[in-house]
């Protein structure tokens, strides 16, 4: 019985459920980028149709699981081609993604890509690592390499 209770307790404290996907406007998202945060923000721009994005998701999931000092945000850019959030929800369930997913709902990317980062071309995948306190930022355009996220976190924390 005791064993059973421990089992139940464990399954509650370490839920394997994915976090609910949040729809955000650019203004909502910019607030997240600017709000002081004790953790380093690791923001990955991806989409369900983007093969190199899907390939690198395990690196971000691993960081989410293993580094308590990093806050991983997977920002889905699917809206631009398909405004239905359900496609992203299904993808999240299928891949059992644990990191927080945001669904950015903005039209006309030319109006806002520069507001996220002037260096970013808009091509996916792209990853932004931000220390909100020192405002240090690193942008990676293209696929992440193994260990690169840890390097970038070190860089913005220096």
């Amino acid at each position: 019985m005791k064993r059973f209770l421990i089992l139940i307790f464990c399954s509650i404290s370490f839920p394997l459920f994915s976090q609910e996907i949040e729809s955000v406007t650019l203004a909502d998202f910019q607030k997240i980028l600017q709000a002081p945060n004790d953790k380093v923000l690791v923001i990955n721009f991806w989409a369900t149709w983007c093969a190199p994005c899907i390939k690198e998701l395990p690196l971000l999931e691993k960081l989410h699981r293993e580094n308590p000092n990093a806050q991983v945000l997977l920002v889905s850019m699917d809206y631009d081609l398909d405004p239905d959030i359900e496609k992203v929800v299904r993808f999240q369930n299928r891949k059992k993604l644990q990191a927080k997913i945001l669904f950015l709902t903005e039209n006309d990317p030319n109006a806002w890509i520069d507001k996220i980062d002037k260096r970013w071309s808009g091509a996916l995948p792209a990853t932004l690592v931000i220390n909100t306190k020192t405002k240090k930022r690193e942008l990676v355009q293209g696929e992440l390499a193994e260990g690169q996220l840890e390097e970038l976190i070190k860089k913005v924390n220096n």
């Binding site: 989409a47 190199p52 405004p83 006309d108 030319n110 355009q141 293209g142």
Partner: protein
């Protein structure tokens, strides 16, 4: 003598400056020679009657390329006859994206009825020289290969009917009217070009 000395210094400084990859609006593009889906080599210099070019870095596989396929065909229909042909270039590394092999390009060009060159940039040197990052990524050039516009085709990838700003059409219309291009640079979400691993 002083002028000569100064220009020598400038030349040395210039040579020492890091080589910047990618064109900005106002730069002059270098012509290229790439293999077309019909097997023939194509250069911009071959288009004797062109007033300019709509160079589009594109591919077979990207959902954005697919979303813009008909619009690219329509651009060539509208502008080739008035002197601004579409020249499409696929720079994706076929070892990373097998759907972008030359054979697949030939198949897509045939299936879609491309009536414009669809060139393979196997070494990716042209895409790098231009500074192309996405597919589709447009560079509108004038006859003397001056870069007049860089960016997206329009402001609505999802639906052609929802477009409010036809960036490329407006730029070419302005050039044809002898005017300055008002919106000369835009950005869009899209697939990154699949670069070869080094």
């Amino acid at each position: 003598m002083k002028a000569l000395f100064l220009s020598l210094i400038m030349a040395v400084l210039w040579a020492g400056a890091p080589i910047k990859e990618g064109y900005e609006v106002g730069d002059t593009a270098a012509d290229f020679k790439l293999k077309n889906v019909d097997g023939k080599m194509v250069s911009l210099g071959d288009f004797k009657n062109a007033k300019g070019f709509i160079v589009i870095f594109d591919c077979n596989t990207c959902p954005y390329s697919k979303a813009y396929n008909e619009r690219i065909i329509a651009l060539n229909k509208k502008y080739a006859s008035v002197g601004y042909p579409v020249v499409a270039i696929n720079a994706n590394d076929a070892s990373k994206s097998s759907g972008d092999s030359f054979e697949e390009m030939v198949r897509v060009a045939k299936a879609k009825g491309y009536d414009f060159p669809y060139l393979v940039d196997e070494s990716q040197t042209v895409a790098k020289a231009f500074g192309a990052t996405n597919t589709p990524h447009v560079f509108v050039l004038t006859k003397d290969l001056k870069v007049a516009y860089i960016g997206a085709i329009d402001d609505s990838a999802r639906k052609a009917e929802a477009v409010t700003k036809k960036y490329v059409e407006t730029a070419v219309d302005e050039l044809l009217a002898g005017k300055k291009v008002t919106t000369s640079k835009t950005k869009a979400i899209g697939c990154g070009i699949k670069w070869r691993s080094v």
